[in-house]
C-alpha cells in the first residue's frame, strides 16, 4: 500500500513538473509572438504567413441584440477588411445593457479573453483596482497613433486616466453637457408663450406661475431624482458621492462640498416651492418611472436636462414617444472628465495580445467602412445609400424587420466615421464637433479620483446620501430644515476627509500636468 502511495505521489509531482514546463514554454512562445508582431507591424505586408489573430469585441446596447446570424454576417464583412489590413479577425458580441453590469464584471473576474469592450467610464477606477483592465498608455503610443488624431486634443484622448493609468478610450460623441430645459411645444403654442429668454431658475419659476394658471391640472415639472440639480455647473472629478465637486471648474480647482453651496440650496429651494404647490409629480422622491413617461402621457409640461447638444432635441422627443418639444439652453456647454467620457473602450486584462487588440481598435476607429458596418450593417442588405448620400432602409425593409441596425453611434467607438442616417441632418457629426469646440473646459479635465484611500468614508457618505438626496433635489422636503441635517451627518461620516483626499490628488495631478 505504502509503495503504491509513494508511486502515486511521484506521478503527481512529475505531472506538476511537466505542466509547469509546458506552461512556461507556452509563455515563451507567446512572448516571441508579440515580439514578432512588433516587427511585423513595421512591415505589415508579410504578416499573412501567420495564423490570423481573433480579436474578441463586446459592445453594450440599451436594446435587444440583433440575432446571431445577422451579427455573423456583419462580422464576416468586417473581416474582409481586417484580414488583409492586419491579418486579424473580429469576433463581435452584443450584450444588452440589462445584463451588462452582471455579465461583464463576471467575465472580467473569470479571466475571459475579451479584448475590446464597452465600459462605463465611471466604473474604470474600481476595475483598475480589481485588476480587470490594462494600462493602455504604451500600447496607444505604439499601435494607436491614428486614434489620438481622431480626438480634438491629446488631453481628450487620454481623459480616462487614473493616476497615469490609461484605462479606456472615450467614445466619440458630444463631450459637453449643458443646463437645459425642455417644454412641450403644444402647450407653448396653445398659449403663445415665448420661452427663448429663460436663463435662470427665477425665470422658470415665473413661467411656471403663468402656465399653472392656464393649465391648472398639469404638473409643471417632471422631476428626475437620479441626478444632481441640472442647472448646477460642476465638475464631479470622477467621484460617486454626488457631493464633492469643483464649482466654476473653468477657473477654480478648489474642491468643495456641493450640499453646502448656494447653488445647491437655490435648486432645492425652488423645487421645494414647486413641490409644495403641486407642480411636481407627487411621487418624485421615490419614483422609479422615467420622467419622460410623464411628458409623453401629456401630464407634465417641462423637464430639466443635461443634454443641450445639437442632437438632443430629437433624442429627447424620441424618448418622450415622439412628443414635440422645445429646447432652451440655460447656460454654456461645459466639459470635464465625466461629460467627455461617459463610455469608453477598454482592453481586458485577459486579452491574449493587447498589442493586437490596440491595432484592431486603431483600425476600427479610423475606418469609415468598419464603423458603417458596425452601426448600420451591410450595404444593400441592411441599408442603401440614397441620392443625398445619406443612408436609408432598402426597399421593403424597415426598423421592425431589418437584420442588423444598431443605430447607436454614441456607444460605438467612433460614430464620426459613419455616414449619417437619412432622418438626421447630413452634417450632424460636423455639428456635434462644432458644438464640442464651444464647450467651456474644466481645468481638472483628465483627473479621475482614486477612492481607494478613503473607501470607508465614501461608503458611509453614500449611505447618508441615500437618506436625503432624492427627497431634497425633487423638493419633497424643506431645504432649510433638511440640508443642515444632511450636512451634519455627512460630517460625522467623514466627508471632510474625502474632500481633503480629493484635493490632495487633484493638486498633485495639476502639478504633474504643468
Amino acid at each position: 500500500m505504502k509503495k503504491l502511495l509513494s508511486l502515486l505521489l511521484v506521478a503527481v509531482l512529475l505531472l506538476g513538473l511537466v505542466a509547469g514546463c509546458s506552461n512556461s514554454s507556452q509563455n515563451d512562445t507567446a512572448n516571441n509572438d508579440s515580439q514578432g508582431t512588433t516587427n511585423d507591424s513595421d512591415t505589415q505586408n508579410d504578416t499573412n504567413s501567420e495564423e490570423p489573430y481573433q480579436v474578441n469585441m463586446v459592445i453594450t446596447l440599451p436594446a435587444t441584440a440583433p440575432d446571431a446570424a445577422a451579427i455573423e454576417r456583419v462580422t464576416a464583412a468586417i473581416n474582409e477588411i481586417t484580414l488583409p489590413a492586419l491579418n486579424m479577425t473580429l469576433s463581435l458580441e452584443v450584450v444588452p445593457y440589462s445584463m451588462y453590469l452582471e455579465q461583464i464584471p463576471l467575465r472580467l473576474s473569470s479571466g475571459s479573453d475579451m479584448d475590446i469592450f464597452t465600459a462605463f467610464s465611471a466604473l474604470g477606477p474600481s476595475w483598475i483596482n480589481a485588476g480587470y483592465i490594462i494600462d493602455m498608455n504604451d500600447y496607444l503610443d505604439e499601435y494607436g497613433p491614428d486614434i489620438i488624431d481622431t480626438y480634438a486634443s491629446e488631453d481628450l484622448a487620454r481623459v480616462c486616466s487614473m493616476d497615469g493609468f490609461l484605462y479606456g478610450l472615450p467614445v466619440h460623441k458630444e463631450i459637453a453637457q449643458q443646463p437645459t430645459i425642455f417644454f412641450r411645444t403644444d402647450i407653448l403654442e396653445k398659449h403663445n408663450i415665448d420661452v427663448s429668454n429663460i436663463k435662470t431658475l427665477a425665470d422658470v419659476d415665473a413661467l411656471f406661475e403663468e402656465v399653472s394658471k392656464l393649465e391648472p391640472d398639469m404638473w409643471m415639472l417632471a422631476a428626475d431624482n437620479t441626478a444632481q440639480g441640472k442647472t448646477i455647473v460642476a465638475d464631479f472629478l470622477g467621484t460617486t458621492t454626488a457631493s464633492t465637486c469643483v464649482l466654476n471648474p473653468e477657473s477654480s480647482t478648489e474642491v468643495v462640498n456641493l450640499i453646502a453651496s448656494d447653488e445647491f440650496y437655490e435648486w432645492c429651494d425652488y423645487n421645494h416651492k414647486w413641490f409644495e404647490k403641486g407642480w411636481i409629480n407627487p411621487g418624485a422622491a421615490s419614483d422609479t418611472e422615467s420622467y419622460y413617461t410623464y411628458i409623453a402621457s401629456g401630464q407634465a409640461f417641462a423637464f430639466f436636462s443635461d443634454y443641450g447638444h445639437p442632437l438632443s432635441e430629437s433624442d429627447q422627443e424620441a424618448n418622450c414617444s415622439g412628443t414635440d418639444l422645445t429646447m432652451v439652453q440655460m447656460g454654456e456647454p461645459y466639459c470635464n472628465t465625466g461629460t467627455s467620457a461617459v463610455f469608453c473602450y477598454c482592453i481586458g486584462a485577459g486579452s491574449k495580445d493587447p498589442a493586437k487588440a490596440m491595432q484592431m481598435l486603431n483600425l476600427i476607429m479610423t475606418s469609415p467602412e468598419i464603423m458603417n458596418l458596425l452601426n448600420w450593417g451591410e450595404e444593400g442588405v441592411d441599408y442603401v445609400v440614397n441620392e443625398d448620400g445619406l443612408l436609408d432602409f432598402p426597399e421593403g425593409v424597415d426598423e421592425s424587420n431589418v437584420g442588423y441596425h444598431l443605430n447607436a453611434g454614441w456607444i460605438l467607438p467612433n460614430q464620426f466615421m459613419c455616414t449619417p442616417w437619412c432622418t438626421s441632418e447630413p452634417d450632424i457629426y460636423e455639428q456635434i464637433q462644432a458644438y464640442n469646440e464651444t464647450a467651456v473646459v474644466s481645468k481638472s479635465l483628465g483627473f479621475v479620483f482614486d477612492p481607494a484611500a478613503v473607501a470607508d468614508e465614501v461608503t458611509a457618505v453614500t449611505n447618508v446620501r441615500s437618506k436625503y438626496y432624492k427627497a431634497l433635489i425633487v423638493g419633497a422636503v424643506d431645504p432649510d430644515e433638511y440640508i443642515p441635517m444632511y450636512l451634519e451627518e455627512m460630517e460625522a461620516a467623514g466627508h471632510q476627509k474625502i474632500i481633503d483626499e480629493i484635493q490632495r490628488q487633484l493638486d498633485e495631478f495639476l502639478a504633474n500636468k504643468a
Binding site: 446571431a68 445584463m99 414617444s321 454614441w410
Partner: protein, 293 residues
C-alpha cells in the same frame, strides 16, 4: 361532537384572522391585475389603485400584437420548466432512494457529500467559469436548465428522509422475495409510495424554474432565448438606462407601466392556476418529510 362556547369562539376568531391574512396575500395580485387593465394616463397620475377611474385593455392588446416575441419567451419558460422539473425530480429520486436504504454501502460518504454541497459551494465567479469555459452553456437553453438542476441536495435529503421513515423496509424485502429486480422495486414501490414528497419537490423545482431570471442574466444574451421573467427584467433595465443616459433604446418605444404589469400577470397566471391542484400533496409532503425526519 357538541361544540362548547369556547370552541365556537375560537372558530370565529380563527376565521376572522384567516380572512384577514388571505386578503393581505391576495391584495398584491389583485392590484397587479387591476393595474394591468388601468388606462395608462390614469395609472401615471393617480398611481396604483384598486378602483381606477378608467380601464383599458391596451396592454393586453399590445401583448397580443407582439405575440411572436412574448409567446416565444413564454414557450421558453414553459419548456424549461417542464423539462427541468421532470429531470429534477428524476435525479432527486435516483439519488434519494438508494440513500434511504439501510443496506447501501458507503452511505455516510454519500450523505456527507450531499450535506457538504448545501453548506459550501464555489461561489459565483468559479461557477461562472466552470459553466462557460468547461461546459460552454453560454447562450444555450442549457444555461436555463442545468444550473438549477444541480443544486438540489436539499431536496434529495427531504426525499431520502421521507422514504426512510414512511416506506417500511419489509415492503422492499417482500418484493425481493417475490423476485423483483432493484429497478422494479424503485419503480413500483418507492416511486408510488413517495408520491406526496415527489409532488412537493416538483412544485419546489417548478416554481424555481418558472421564476428564475438570474441564470438568464448571467449566461444568456441572445434575445431569442429569453425567458418571460428575463424579458421583464430587460424592460425594467432599459428604462433605468433611459433615465440615466437620456438616450432611447434603438428600436421601439419604452413599454408602459401597464404593459409591464400585464406581462407580470401573464407570467404568473399558470402558477396561479396549477398551484391549488397541487397543494394537497404539498402540505402532506412537507409535514411528513420534515416532522418525522
Amino acid at each position: 361532537m357538541i361544540k362548547s362556547k369556547q370552541d365556537k369562539r375560537f372558530e370565529v376568531f380563527a376565521s376572522v384572522v384567516m380572512v384577514i391574512v388571505m386578503f393581505i396575500i391576495i391584495f398584491p395580485f389583485v392590484l397587479l391585475f387591476i393595474s394591468s387593465i388601468t388606462e395608462e394616463k390614469t395609472l401615471l397620475i393617480n398611481g396604483y389603485s384598486i378602483f381606477p377611474e378608467k380601464l383599458s385593455l391596451a396592454a393586453y392588446e399590445y401583448i397580443w400584437n407582439s405575440r411572436d416575441v412574448i409567446f416565444r419567451a413564454y414557450a421558453t419558460t414553459v419548456g424549461v420548466t417542464v423539462i427541468g422539473t421532470t429531470l429534477h425530480v428524476l435525479l432527486v429520486a435516483l439519488v434519494a432512494y438508494p440513500l434511504s436504504l439501510r443496506r447501501l454501502p458507503g452511505k455516510s460518504v454519500f450523505n456527507f457529500l450531499l450535506l457538504f454541497t448545501i453548506l459550501f459551494n464555489g461561489g459565483l465567479v468559479p461557477t461562472y467559469m466552470i459553466y462557460t469555459t468547461v461546459f460552454h452553456i453560454k447562450d444555450t437553453y442549457f444555461a436555463l436548465l442545468v444550473p438549477n438542476l444541480l443544486f438540489s441536495s436539499f431536496n434529495a435529503i427531504i426525499v431520502r428522509t421521507y422514504l426512510r421513515t414512511n416506506v417500511p423496509s419489509e415492503l422492499y424485502e417482500s418484493a425481493k422475495i417475490d423476485g423483483a429486480s432493484e429497478f422494479r422495486i424503485f419503480r413500483e414501490i418507492a416511486l408510488p409510495l413517495g408520491k406526496p414528497i415527489f409532488v412537493t419537490v416538483a412544485v419546489f423545482a417548478g416554481l424555481n424554474y418558472w421564476n428564475d431570471w438570474t441564470n438568464g442574466l448571467y449566461y444568456v444574451s441572445d434575445s431569442a432565448k429569453y425567458s418571460i421573467q428575463q424579458m421583464l427584467n430587460v424592460m425594467v433595465k432599459n428604462i433605468q438606462y433611459l433615465t440615466q443616459f437620456g438616450r432611447a433604446p434603438t428600436s421601439g418605444s419604452i413599454p408602459s407601466v401597464g404593459l409591464r404589469m400585464a406581462i407580470a400577470f401573464v407570467a404568473m397566471l399558470p402558477i396561479l392556476i396549477i398551484y391549488p391542484f397541487l397543494t394537497k400533496y404539498f402540505e402532506k409532503g412537507i409535514t411528513l418529510g420534515s416532522v418525522k425526519g
